[in-house]
């Protein structure tokens, strides 16, 4: 390990011990200090990749992996498999138990073909779910919801009720709502039809579809920025509130 790593690790440890001392070895305060130092260790990556960040990253991977196994053990293995099996409620559970153990044959080149049985059971089940979900949740329901009239009498009526500039604008947008929804849907689907070259009227429709796609990607980008910024605000709130106590 590089000397720099050892120095940094000692500094971090010293800060952690100072925090523990400050909290009178109180579990919660010590925990807050640990959380804060690990947070700063991850943030140090913004300056550049460094040993402190790498240390924190590897601790995170180890802890996360251990966490998942413990959760699976206590929440699935024990209540859904072990207890019913050993109590005699359902001896047939020996089958998924065996299939689950067969997954570990993947570590042996000679016996790895046995893991295919378990994988096939999972893949078959989830392929079935995917077919059902895509069919009824996405395809049929969405096509049904797209059967809307081009002309909406309510939207046109709202135009005559408008008084302010804003109301006129939104009444007009309301009239455009149904036709644009239908045109946008059809032209987007046409864009994804690659069996014919996008020329002539197909090309024009495809180009309109691209414009709708660009608007949706722009909206997605805006929401993505919002999401990432929220995550940063959350961490800063923890550091400023729970750790340093600067804000409520």
């Amino acid at each position: 390990m590089k000397p720099l790593t050892i120095i940094v690790a000692c500094v971090v440890l010293a800060m952690g011990l100072m925090g523990a001392a400050a909290g009178g070895l109180n579990g919660q305060v010590f925990g807050t200090w640990v959380a804060a130092l690990l947070t700063l260790a991850i943030f140090s990556f913004l300056y550049k990749d460094n040993p402190v960040y790498k240390l924190a990253e590897h601790i995170f991977i180890g802890v996360s992996a251990g966490y998942v196994v413990c959760l699976e053990y206590w929440n699935v293995f024990i209540p859904n498999l072990w207890n019913p099996l050993v109590s005699g409620q359902s001896y047939i559970l020996i089958v998924p138990f065996a299939l689950g153990l067969m997954l570990f044959t993947r570590f042996s080149p000679r016996a790895s073909w046995l893991s295919r049985w378990a994988i096939a059971a999972m893949v078959g089940s989830y392929a079935g779910f995917a077919v059902i979900g895509a069919l009824q949740g996405d395809l049929i329901a969405q096509v049904r919801a797209s059967m809307i009239p081009l002309y909406s009498a309510d939207a046109v009526a709202s135009m005559s009720l408008a008084r302010t500039a804003n109301e006129y604008v939104f009444a007009f947008l309301g009239i455009l709502q149904n036709p644009l929804t239908i045109i946008g849907l059809i032209t987007t689907l046409i864009y994804f039809f690659f069996s014919r070259e996008h020329k002539g009227s197909l090309g024009v429709a495809s180009r309109i579809g691209i414009f709708f796609l660009m608007i949706s990607f722009g909206a997605s980008f805006g929401y993505t920025v919002m999401s990432r910024v929220s995550l940063l605000i959350g961490r800063l709130h923890f550091l400023l509130s729970d750790w340093l106590g600067i804000i409520q």
């Binding site: 059971a121 045109i183 689907l189």
Partner: protein, 207 residues
């Protein structure tokens, strides 16, 4: 045995799920419920397999003194500690396992994701150029949405939040629905190919 049995298992599992949707008759519904429980159990084993693989690869790196091998020791030690306290002491609130979750895993995971805020701001400055009509449309929409979703936008024009909502409900919704329908058709066809044994890539190589 190596190919035919798994394909048959996938067919039976998949068809049970699909048929149980169309027929609530116990002859289909009960085996489907059993199959669902089995899928839950086998998936749990798959997660443990993934973790075992991480441990195996990390241990191999330590043994051969590979790249960053000393960090792999830290990884294995963290994994071991978490497994030890979780499997022996339980996972209930107030346990050492829970302390590790709240004070080690939670802050680091949240911080990892929060780094993205900086990266997206940097990308906005260095990479997002209006080089074409399409890119301009994308950027203009992004700016409108970013402004419209915060109070600053409402300060500029009191109709901006409603206009942003209209963008989400009309052009965005239309395009997303088109993508959704296309993806659904693809998912149905791929799912059926897997169930019928026409798609066998999930079985891996025959070697």
């Amino acid at each position: 045995m190596k190919t035919e049995v798994p394909v048959a298992i996938a067919f039976i599992a998949g068809m049970l799920m699909i048929v149980s949707l169309f027929s609530p008759h116990p002859i289909f519904a009960e085996p489907a419920a059993v199959m669902r429980n089995w899928a839950i159990i086998i998936t749990a084993f798959a997660y443990v397999l993934g973790v075992a693989n991480i441990a195996r690869i990390s241990a191999g790196t330590v043994r051969t003194r590979g790249r960053d091998w000393h960090y792999k020791i830290v990884l294995l030690a963290s994994l071991g500690v978490m497994l030890g306290i979780g499997l022996s002491g339980g996972i209930q609130a107030g346990s050492p396992f829970d302390w590790g979750y709240i004070n080690v895993m939670v802050p680091m995971q949240a911080t990892m994701f929060s780094l993205l805020a900086f990266f997206i701001a940097s990308a906005a400055y260095r990479a997002f150029r209006a080089r074409s009509v399409e890119a301009t449309l994308l950027l203009v929409t992004a700016v409108i949405v970013m402004l419209g979703r915060v109070p600053v936008g409402e300060g500029l024009w009191n109709g901006l939040p409603a206009f942003t909502e209209w963008i989400m409900e009309v052009p965005n919704m239309a395009a997303k629905r088109g993508i959704m329908i296309g993806a659904a058709l693809g998912a149905i066809s791929t799912g059926l190919k897997m169930i019928l044994g026409l798609e066998r890539s999930y079985l891996g190589s025959d070697k």
